[in-house]
Amino acid sequence: MTGDFRASLAVYTFVWLVLVGGAVLEAVFILNGIARWPELFVLGVSGFQASLILLFYMHLRDEPLSVKAMPVVTLLLLVALLASAITSVLACTPYVAG
């Protein structure tokens, strides 16, 4: 039990550090113009942070495949929606105020 406790504590602490560090990293890279494609960089870091939360804080890695599939299917559907919506926008003439 003590071993479980220590292992869980280590994992939670490590993930917490990575999450906080990730947020600071995003800020440093964007403010200093280090990230060449800021949107993609942010998407990558946020996606990584979200995966950590899902796997270790929400314990998705311990759930059966059916539960794992739920967020995956949801994200696939979201990608379909967003891809169509954004592609349709890119095909239009952008709006310029005034």
Partner: protein, 794 residues
């Protein structure tokens, strides 16, 4: 009997129906309410046809016509068809799978009350100054802006749709967990009756389709009341509405259709005296239909100038989505083939549905072609096509279900002759009503007057509508009379195969005498019941009704009552505040009952629960909820992306917001979750004091997050960064506001855990609710990792 005993009986009658959580009672409430809305929508539909009976009619003005058409569509689609299916599912699905009730009985009651209240608010909108919504059931932007649709009618309709969507989401969680987790031993997926199968597909569709409707109507409500311009700005506008609405709107067709198909399949199998032909193929077809239904919505947007590649892809997917349904229809026809057919009323309606499906389905395939869609979409061809599906298949299918299960639900047989007369008149008149519309393929829809050359077909359609509408008086009389005077129904009057027919008609409160179990050779045996199963006697609560009542008061407060203050365009009245207080009190009562374990239900033993084996009911339900919530925030973040992509001018987040505040709040939120998790592992070690401390710290940090947010908002508003500062600011306030509401709810939920801990409810082996609320916290944090860079960096 004395007067006082009549009053006592009346009181206990009212109390029972206001507080019930039994799935059969809720099912009956759903069925009766949906029939009421069906009649209301039917009257509106008939009014439309009266107006269109001949050119130049002045029964309705143009605006009245628009109101009637709008509300006819909304009532039929939202408040009749799905809820009637939900009503039948409520009653029948637990019986079909051998369960005692739905997984979450109180949530089920709440679903019903929110549904009823949403429908009532939609009805009340007729009395709003300026009338009800008159923009068509699709609520296309920018027609919905307060310039074109002034008055409170549309606001009430928007609120009604939001409440209805919440009701549906709760129902989704309940049905999915029930069917997956609570099937009787031996009720494998292969043995699951078709009606229950179709409910699984329906709730999956609801789970992923309704969040975008909630987002769309929420933005609409904000646009009209709080001064945002999501759908009025040329950057978001009609395009954004169309994407959000139709991502819900097309799957909604299948949400309506699937339960009807399930009923038709069960009815055809029963009255053909055969197992359903190629049941596995039908299930496979419906699962393909479920998946494909999410990638066809753009065919509703072919004329918007959407990218050619997207049009090509969704033209293709729209064409092939007909294949699974063709497979289903063929399988049903092959079930009839060489069957010993018994032409009862439900069977006639089922066969009629298949006939109508062939017409409605075939005329829909044309619309997958971009050129034909552009030609037909604004004409009566489309009206004919979707009415063949909605009235001809879905309503006929639901009628088949009502006749089929009437003996089971009421314990009485209906009059078969009257049933057959109803079918004959309805079947003949539906073609008189909708077939002429295909010949009106050059007549524009959504007009209240027309050129004389279209008069003949319109007159035929109107005569058909009157007869079709009147035909529904027959079942009203038939059912009402049979309820009192009909012959007693045997347990299984149809000789059907599914499990609901193995109990009495009507079933007892606890459904079955003994625990049903299906043996390897398919026989059902009943084991002696354990004591925990007869749990419905004490399962009454006023909390779900209270939440519904509060929501109704809130809606009424938009129209009536002394005004207290105004937020932008939203008048906050005493009645609305009273509504919020009633909701808060009811939620408190709900939590109070939980803290005292008043609704603890033992998990059924050895139930079939693959693929969620090892995941308990509540955790399964929370995962389903989180998936819906994830989609909701996905749609919100997608809206941000959509607007950002369309805007040429975009001020980086670090210029309009204080990055330090964003980082501090990020740190606070991450740490709140961290302390929550620490509390959890301490509890698993048996250290309840550390658990309580961890939860208290998490709560305190959540409150600190909210206080920082309030501080930040107030400074931004003082600096002139308000909802009037453009779409970027509107997105910021809306998304972080909704996230803040989630944090608030998380804080309240964690306080509830602290209260339980202080009452000594948690030990090393007992941590009910801790994991589930922890999952919710994970979700709240996950959303923030996207919101932080979106608003503070990019």
């Amino acid at each position: 009997m004395g007067e006082s005993s009549y009053i006592g009986q009346f009181r206990s009658f009212v109390w029972r129906w206001l507080t019930t959580t039994n799935h059969k009672d809720i099912g009956i409430l759903y069925i009766l309410t949906s029939i009421y809305f069906f009649l209301a929508a039917g009257v509106l539909g008939t009014l439309v046809r009266f107006q269109l009976a001949r050119p130049g009619n002045t029964i309705l003005t143009g605006n009245e016509y628009n109101e009637v058409v709008t509300m006819h569509g909304l009532f039929m689609l939202l408040w009749f068809a799905s809820p009637l299916a939900f009503g039948l599912a409520n009653y029948i699905v637990p019986l079909q799978i051998g369960a005692r009730d739905l997984a979450f009985p109180r949530l089920n009651a709440l679903s019903y009350w929110l549904y009823l209240v949403s429908g009532l608010i939609a009805l009340i909108s007729f009395f709003a100054p300026g009338g009800t919504a008159s923009v068509g059931w699709t609520l296309y932007a920018p027609l919905t802006s307060d310039i074109y649709a002034p008055g409170k009618g549309l606001d009430l309709v928007g609120l009604a749709i939001i409440l209805f969507s919440i009701s549906v989401t709760l129902g989704t969680i309940n049905f999915l967990v029930t069917i997956v987790k609570m099937r009787a031993p031996g009720m494998t997926w292969a043995r699951l009756p078709m009606f229950s199968w179709t409910i699984v597909f329906t709730v999956l569709l609801m789970l992923w389709a309704f969040p975008t409707l909630i987002v769309a109507t929420f933005f609409l409500f904000m646009d009209r009341n709080l001064g945002t311009r999501f759908f009025e700005s040329p950057i978001g506008g009609s395009y954004l509405w169309a994407h959000l609405f139709w991502f819900f709107g097309h799957p909604e067709v299948y949400i309506l259709l699937f339960p009807a198909l399930g009923i038709i399949a069960d009815v055809i199998s029963t009255f053909s005296r055969r197992q359903l032909f190629a049941k596995n193929i039908i299930v496979l077809g419906l699962s393909l239909g479920t998946a494909l239904s999410f990638v066809v919505w753009v065919h509703h947007m072919f004329i918007t100038g959407i990218a050619l590649e997207i049009r090509k892809i969704q033209s293709f997917t729209t064409a092939i989505i007909s294949v699974p349904f063709e497979m289903t229809v063929i399988a049903m026809i092959l079930t009839l083939w060489r069957g010993r057919i018994w032409y009862t009323t439900p069977m006639l309606f089922a066969i009629g549905s298949i006939f109508n499906f062939i017409i409605g389905g075939a005329t829909g395939v044309f619309l997958s072609s971009v050129p034909l869609d552009i030609a037909f979409r604004g004409t009566y061809w489309v009206v004919g096509h979707f009415h063949y599906i909605v009235a001809g298949v879905i309503t006929f299918g639901l009628m088949a279900g009502l006749y089929y299960w009437f003996p089971k639900i009421t314990g009485r047989m209906y009059n078969e002759t009257l049933g057959k007369i109803h079918f004959a008149i309805a079947f003949a008149s539906i073609h008189a009503l909708y077939l002429p519309m295909f010949f009106l393929m050059d007549m524009p829809r959504r007009i209240y007057d027309y050129a004389p050359e279209w008069a003949t077909y319109n007159l035929i359609a109107t005569v058909g509508a009157i007869i079709f509408g009147l035909s529904f008086l027959i079942p009203l009389v038939n059912f009402t009379y049979s309820l009192w005077r009909g012959p007693r129904a045997p347990d299984n009057p149809w000789g059907a195969y599914t499990m609901e027919w193995l109990t009495t008609s009507p079933p007892p409160r606890h459904n079955f005498e003994g625990e049903p179990m299906i043996t390897g050779d398919g026989r059902v045996v009943f084991l002696a019941a354990n004591g925990g199963y007869h749990h419905h006697v004490e399962h009454h609560t006023l909390a779900p009704f209270g939440i519904g009542l509060g929501a109704l008061l809130f809606g009424l407060g938009l129209l009536y009552g002394p005004k207290l203050f105004t937020i932008v365009n939203l008048d906050v009245t005493l009645i609305s505040i009273a509504g919020i207080l009633v909701i808060a009190a009811s939620l408190l009562k709900w939590a109070w009952d939980d803290v005292h374990d008043r609704f603890a239900i033992p998990e059924p033993r050895a139930a079939e629960d693959w693929p969620l084996t090892g995941v308990d009911k509540v955790r399964s339900g929370v995962w389903v909820f989180l998936v819906g919530d994830l989609f909701l925030f996905g749609a919100l973040i997608g809206t941000w992306l959509f607007i950002r992509t369309r805007s040429l001018v975009w001020e980086p987040g670090y210029m309009s917001h204080d990055l330090a505040i964003g980082l501090v709040n990020t740190f606070i939120l991450f740490t709140a979750t961290y302390f929550y998790l620490l509390g959890y592992i301490f509890l698993k070690r048996g250290n309840t004091a550390a658990f309580t401390a961890g939860m208290s710290l998490a709560t305190a940090l959540a409150i600190a997050f909210l206080l920082v947010k309030v501080f930040e908002w107030s400074h931004l508003i003082e600096a002139g960064y308000t909802l009037g500062s453009g779409l970027q600011a509107q997105l910021y306030y809306t998304l972080t506001g909704l996230h803040g509401a989630h944090v608030l709810f998380g804080a309240l939920a964690t306080m509830y855990l602290v209260a339980k801990a202080l009452k000594g409810k948690y030990t090393r082996d007992s941590h009910k609710g801790v994991v589930e609320i922890g999952l919710y916290w994970g979700m709240v944090e996950m959303i923030w990792v996207f919101l932080f860079p979106m608003f503070y960096l990019l």
